[in-house]
Symmetry: C2
Subunit: 216 residues, 2 copies
Amino acid sequence: MDNLHETQDNRSLTSRVFKYVRLGIIEGRYKSGDYLIETRLANELGVSRTPVREALRQLELEDLVECIPNRGVVVKGISSEDIDDIYTIRLQLEGLAAYWASQRIKQTQLNRLEEIIELMELYTRRNDSTNLARLDTEFHEIIFTAANSRSLKHILVWLHQNIQYARQSSLMSPSRTPKSFEEHKLIFTALEAGEADLAKTYMEKHITAAHSHPEE
Amino acid sequence: MDNLHETQDNRSLTSRVFKYVRLGIIEGRYKSGDYLIETRLANELGVSRTPVREALRQLELEDLVECIPNRGVVVKGISSEDIDDIYTIRLQLEGLAAYWASQRIKQTQLNRLEEIIELMELYTRRNDSTNLARLDTEFHEIIFTAANSRSLKHILVWLHQNIQYARQSSLMSPSRTPKSFEEHKLIFTALEAGEADLAKTYMEKHITAAHSHPEE
DNA sequence: TACATTAAAGTTGTATACATGTTCTTCTTG
DNA sequence: CAAGAAGAACATGTATACAACTTTAATGTA
């Protein structure tokens, strides 16, 4: 019963279980209100209860499930209202990240951003949404990292993960990709020039646009 | 060897261990770079390794420790730069929380806020920092809750917990308390009147002032 | 002495066993 | 038949046992 067709990232069973259940919640396989039974999950994945418990305790801190003492863990999930809120929160925080990044970003990070921009242009022409989504994630992650704030990065990574859910549903819609590409380019230019306020403004516009058209 | 002089909140050993280690990191007993040995902690607390492991895995997600596979978990701690960043992030997010709260707050929550304001006045006159700190936490938490956004509340609770560390150090300094009291009152008035922009502005001023003078 | 090899101690990763608490079924009783 | 009690089935909470991996100490050799 190996539902776990993972690659090589077998760091530990705990993290495998964590990702598996997380994906299950994000994809809606486990719905809000469902009880997650430890032994059932353990059998499903062919592992013991120990790593399952550790993973569930982590998911509790991610706020994706609620652990009720001596009762079990119940799925909380992410509603569309949550997604809306997350975009508003991102609006505040990614603006801040871009602002800080423009002051603290290193040359190597700028180089990688430039590479990403070039690749994005290519994949936009080819309508390759899968690769575009991957590059988009990396683009934003470089900016989180360049902002050089542990707390901010921690929050933004969490928000991005939660939002994957919304992305998943509308991935292949290519209507907005050319516009999105231009937005990324503007952000990059501002970062390169060290224009903090401009970087912030462009990032905010990008998030807002992405919220209205979540396809990329 | 029962270093755990807890009250009644013995929901589970895992959460007891979690709070114990968390406090240890916040108080500086476990310093950045220290390795946390599972068996050592287990003996220290008179429990088995199972709840210790679960607690450590949770602390990893809180970003207070780093789990290195097959090596152990190392303390990350919170630097003063982190604290500065957190205040800036709170500036963005508590403003948003106050904004949303002013539109969504319920009468019972407003009543409780009014009670808190009255109590704060009392304790400010008495210079009772301990109770003031408690009320301050509740004041902000009511606003998080009233904002009615799961994600926002989750982030702000996390930020507040991280910042307790900075508060701990300078608790008894009463110089700012009268001013802080006035700020809380202004926020409350704006919330009561449903003035979203005003609530946001007052909250931002309050956070900024608290950052310069973290005693309350 | 310096260095590689190997044994040993220590630590983490995982599974299992048992204790405790909860839920559901069934049987009794009014 | 309804309501409640007893017990079985089930799930979680915790401890322990064992396997795998890492680091350290020890041993042997050039």
